[in-house]
């Protein structure tokens, strides 16, 4: 009888980087489709520009670093970064905005630190923050969602706007764009209109139908569905999204109960903006997130609290990107203090 013996490791890893990245990208598809349905051609332009610029930047930098280009491009990590970035950017972002964000994400946040696995910060969120800080005005250019408007601007209108900055005849960009619900509630609060008043006003009530806002709730629900599939497949860790969602619900509930007129409900926070995209696709990035089981609870909860704090009291429309980067900074420290006990070792 022949006993086969082979050198260790004996347990074969079921999943590699390429498969993992592409499963995350597949899980993004339903949310992306709904985003296209509600916001129109702009989302597709964002995706096209971001993917081509990200892959090109990655190739150029790898060439400069004298690394092999094809195996790295083929692992899908740059593609995933591009998709997340494109979904986070506003639907009517001009081409140069998407380009600057993509270059910052891949060149600065990823490759300057040494490439996949060495980057301390989530590349997509760094790219987003660079343009958020630099061009706050352009970052508010979301299309009026389908359901509020009769339909989104057609292909040529969007194309002319994104690539040439030309608006349709006798119109400004404001006539086809609209603030996001989170942004709108914040600006209305600054003008002393409370949340209930804004949600039921004749001007804006169409935007606030359903749980959190026309369009946004379905996008979030579909990202949630994709995310649950990812967790089930074991690609994304379940602790981070759970901790994130619980923390966000907990803190928003406290403030909403305390003062319902100036604080939005937990449901609104859960299903608007980039909440679900963040919870399952951005926060769970295995490179930049915390790696210990207890650490992941702290990491996710930290993001949830920070998102709420920045949304409510910060100057920017959504707090996802800043919350992620702040917790990325804290992740090594969290890991240091939450090392699991070594089997047979002493209690600490």
């Amino acid at each position: 009888m022949l006993f086969k013996h082979s050198p260790s490791p004996h347990i074969k890893q079921e999943i590699n980087v390429h498969d993992m990245m592409f499963m995350v990208i597949y899980a993004l598809i339903p949310g992306t489709l709904s985003s296209v349905y509600f916001f129109g051609w702009g989302v597709l332009f964002n995706l096209t520009i971001a993917i081509s610029v990200c892959l090109l930047t990655e190739a150029v930098i790898l060439k400069i670093r004298r690394r092999e280009i094809y195996p790295v491009l083929q692992d899908g990590s740059a593609l995933l970064t591009a998709c997340l970035l494109a979904l986070a950017l506003p639907a009517l972002a001009p081409w140069w905005l998407t380009t600057i964000a993509s270059i910052s994400a891949i060149a600065v946040a990823k490759q300057l630190y040494g490439g996949l696995g060495f980057n301390p910060f989530n590349p997509a969120m760094v790219g987003y923050i660079v343009v958020m800080i630099s061009f706050p005005l352009e970052m508010t250019l979301w299309t009026t969602p389908m359901g509020v408007a009769d339909g989104w601007p057609d292909f040529s209108t969007t194309f002319n706007w994104v690539f040439f900055g030309e608006t349709p005849y006798a119109e400004t960009i404001d006539s086809i764009s609209m603030a996001t619900p989170i942004d709108l509630i914040k600006t209305q609060l600054n003008q002393l209109h409370d949340v209930t008043e804004t949600r039921h006003s004749t001007e804006y009530s169409a935007l606030f139908s359903g749980l959190s806002g026309t369009g946004w709730q379905w996008i979030n629900i579909l990202f949630l569905a994709g995310g649950i599939w990812l967790v089930k497949k074991g690609v994304a860790d379940w602790r981070i999204p759970t901790a994130f969602i619980l923390a966000l619900v907990f803190i928003s509930n406290i403030f909403a109960v305390a003062d319902y007129s100036t604080n939005s409900s937990p449901l609104f926070h859960l299903f608007s903006g980039g909440t679900m995209l963040c919870a399952f696709f951005i926060a769970t990035d295995p490179v930049t997130a915390s790696t210990t089981p207890r650490g992941r609870w702290i990491y996710g909860a930290g993001i949830g609290v920070l998102v709420y704090v920045i949304r409510n009291w910060g100057g920017y429309p959504d707090g996802i990107a800043f919350a992620i980067i702040l917790m990325n900074i804290a992740a090594p420290l969290i890991d240091y203090y939450t090392q699991p006990k070594v089997y047979g070792g002493l209690d600490r």
């Binding site: 600057i100 600065v108 660079v130 800080i133 630099s134 061009f135």
Partner: protein, 235 residues
């Protein structure tokens, strides 16, 4: 490192190379980063603070070098601080009198030159051990190296952030300066990140990286030369 070089010319060359490149205050010693990062929003701000720092370095190095026979080593640091503080106060008054607008723009960072570690570092490491001429030269070259980095970083940030170069040059050059401003494009949207503090950190990081690349290229080239010459002698 300059002790064993005797001829004045080679000494000057060594001091210059040390100050401008191999021991550059901003790129290698990483001293005085606070003003470096805070005021380099434009070329003119960088140039103004750079020149003020350079003058402080020349004067403090000269004075420390002159008084070194009487310095008690136990109290040398307080003496250095006193000397530097007096010089900075003088420069602050001079700028207030003759470059008042620039003085207002640079604000707190002029008095803060006192706390620029590079000045006390040069007094301790160089001026207290060398003669007047060498010390003044060292102060000048260290200051010039610092100023160059300030100007280059200011230029990068101004060009990317605001799309101009030499804006507000009238603060330093009077009415002639008004025509010095170069505008790249009238409708440049402005890249705010470059003007904000993160832009300063990223810019400085890129400059340091560039210097390291050049140094690395140079050493590898020298190695190639020495290897080929060694082969030549061996054969």
């Amino acid at each position: 490192m300059t002790d064993n070089i005797t001829t004045p010319l080679t000494r000057t060359a060594a001091i210059s190379k040390d100050g401008l490149w191999t021991n550059n205050v901003a790129l290698v010693q990483l001293l005085g980063l606070c003003p470096l990062l805070a005021v380099t929003g434009t070329v003119i701000n960088g140039l103004g603070l750079g020149i003020a720092t350079m003058m402080t370095l020349v004067l403090s190095n000269s004075i420390v070098s002159l008084i070194r026979p009487w310095l008690k080593s136990e109290i040398r640091i307080p003496i250095f601080v006193l000397v530097i503080a007096s010089i900075v106060t003088t420069i602050e008054l001079i700028m207030n009198a003759w470059f008042h607008d620039l003085y207002l723009v640079l604000g707190i960072f002029i008095p803060l030159i006192v706390t620029n570690c590079s000045i006390i570092a040069r007094a301790e490491a160089f001026a207290s051990k060398n003669n007047l001429l060498d010390s003044a030269m060292d102060g000048f070259m260290m200051g010039l190296g610092f100023t160059l980095v300030l100007v280059v970083l200011g230029g990068m940030r101004e060009l990317i952030g605001l799309g101009t170069l030499f804006a507000n040059a009238q603060l330093m050059f009077g009415s002639i300066g008004e025509s010095m401003t170069l505008t790249i494009s009238e409708d440049y949207p402005g890249f705010l990140l470059a003007v904000l503090p993160p832009g300063a950190f990223i810019g400085l990081g890129l400059l340091i990286a560039l210097k390291n690349i050049i140094d690395k290229r140079q050493t590898s080239r020298q190695q190639v030369v020495s290897i080929t010459s060694a082969e030549a002698t061996a054969s």
